[in-house]
Amino acid sequence: MTLLALNDLTVRRGECPVVDHATFRIEGGEVVGLIGPNGAGKTTLMRAALGLLPSTGQSSLLAMGPAERARHAAWLPQSREIAWPVAVRTLVLLGRVPHLAGGQRPGAADEAAVDEALAAMDLSAFADRPATELSGGEQARVLIARALAQETPLILADEPTAGLDPGHQIAALERFTDLARRGQSVLVSLHDLGLAARHCTRLILMHRGRIEADGRPREVLSPDLLRDVFGIRAHLSEGPDGVVFQPLEVIG
């Protein structure tokens, strides 16, 4: 089942296209890593796909109304905003807003979704603490839990692992893999190519607003593309421990 379909999606800032005719589909059961250098257009692509930016071309999410879209796709922005000292549990419960009719109070199903999301992000012990008192990495996990609690078929996450310790980086991507096993999908932008190579079923490489490559991690992380797009040389091997990727040096 197709969860996201972009067709010639283009975002212009003035005359200059920031996202240039992006076309791809995401089926159920995928963890798609969106990679590319700074300023490649990753964030803009995801925000435009969600209708948060004006764009031309088509995004399947734009065909939905706001409420339906919020039940189909969760969005985890890069900026980690927690404006008020609300309890972690209350914050994660905001993920249930799309599932509540006007004035309806959260029910047992909502509480269960929140419990599951808190447990998945290793936050059960923090549930009653004010979210603003947690460390940056802990807050990032709270916000991932909020997106998980939304229980949408599709999650778009913008650098969710930045600032997390290695254990929780891996754990976050493993949660995404768990979702994919259940038929859900995640589009996640990542700067850690090693993490992307190991945990994503597919990578989309962006460069200057264009999609340069789209395929299995081993194909996308080819020496030529790494040189042309990132200007780096890297080690890539596949052994008993899975794919191992390590950037080695800057070239060119």
């Binding site: 409420a67 039940r71 905003e81 609300v86 309890a87 914050l91 807003v97 799309p98 909020r146």
Partner: protein, 329 residues
């Protein structure tokens, strides 16, 4: 604290202060006599004072206080800034400008409700300007900057009107009105403010869920299905109606919308949506208490409510800035 317990406690506080406000005044009737006269209409002088002077004054204190508390809580929630207040988006300043123009041109003297109507017009112009300046996608920064610009303009025009005034008596009347007071108000003031205040309360009470979602930022709130444009419209019109009507009948009373949400925020677990009803009740209690206090402190000198609020509120405001600054560093 549980939300129900908190709201009942605040409700009881408002009821007690309302009663105290009814029983406070220079006429010196006994409490039993006063309430009996209020309810039955017996005893001509007492009934007249109770029904025509003290009752509208207490009702206005509730309306003005709840409007200022509710608007402050909603604005802070929307802007995600604990220092925001209704004056910030220029509604109070523009309402005051409308009233000053009415007083200086003599329109205020032409018919009884000219003054409040002029203030209402000022606040409405401010709202329309805000909408035009802040654009279709109401981002917080744009709204704040638009509010600052409109406040500055309203302040400058008010000064200009006073500057050019040929009539020193009108200037003194204007300055006194701008100090803010609930003395000598009648039911006519209640009736003219009521429809606008009710509209404001209705619109602002419907922003609760959107404000909660905005805790995560504008992008995340939009992705949760919150219509930000509609939310902003409800917020701005709601605030303009409630604060504009309040300023029209009571003059400029500051700091209620700032201080009350701050005091109550810890009691609602920081949630902007839950803060709305609590701040409305808290604002009503605060204005009722202050309006009783001005009659106790200097019964003969007509101490202005707005002056007392500023004297109490400004030091607290300084404390809050200090606290916020320490949290930021």
């Amino acid at each position: 604290m549980r939300q129900g317990v908190l709201l009942s406690t605040l409700g009881a506080l408002v009821a007690a202060l309302f009663l105290l406000s009814l029983l406070t005044g220079p006429a010196g009737f006994g409490p039993g006599e006063s309430l009996h006269a209020l309810l039955t209409g017996q005893g001509e002088a007492v009934a007249l004072v109770m029904r025509e002077i003290r009752l509208p004054r207490a009702i206005l204190a509730v309306m003005v206080g709840a409007s200022l508390g509710l608007s402050g809580a909603a604005l802070q929630g929307y802007l995600r800034n604990p220092l925001a207040e209704p004056g910030l988006i220029g509604v109070s300043g523009s309402a005051a400008l409308g009233a000053v123009i009415a007083l200086q041109t003599g329109v205020a003297a032409s018919f009884a409700l000219a003054l409040p109507l002029a203030a209402l017009t000022g606040s409405l112009v401010a709202v329309l300007l805000i909408l035009a300046l802040a654009g279709p996608r109401g981002e917080s920064l744009t709204l704040i900057l638009a509010g600052i610009a409109i406040s500055a303009l309203a302040g400058a025009l008010t000064s200009l009107v006073l500057n050019l005034s040929p009539n020193p008596f009108a200037v003194s009347e204007t300055v006194f009105w701008m100090l803010g007071s609930l003395a000598d108000r009648s039911f006519r003031h209640v009736w003219i403010a009521l429809p606008f205040v009710a509209l404001g309360w209705f619109l602002l009470s419907r922003t609760a869920r959107g404000l909660d979602a905005l805790t995560l930022g504008e992008d995340a709130a939009a992705s949760l299905g919150i219509g930000l444009t509609r939310l902003r419209l409800m917020l701005v019109i709601g605030t303009a109606a409630a604060v504009g009507a309040s300023t029209a009948v009571a003059g400029a009373i500051g700091f209620v919308g700032l201080v009350v949400p701050h005091l109550l925020r810890p009691l609602v677990g920081g949630q902007p949506g839950r803060l709305l009803p609590a701040s409305a009740l808290g604002g009503a209690a605060m204005v009722l208490a202050a309006d009783v206090a001005v009659r106790f402190i200097l019964p003969d000198r007509d101490l202005k409510l707005g002056v007392l609020m500023a004297l109490v509120g400004a030091p607290l405001f300084l404390h809050l800035i200090y606290k916020t600054r320490r949290q930021l560093t």
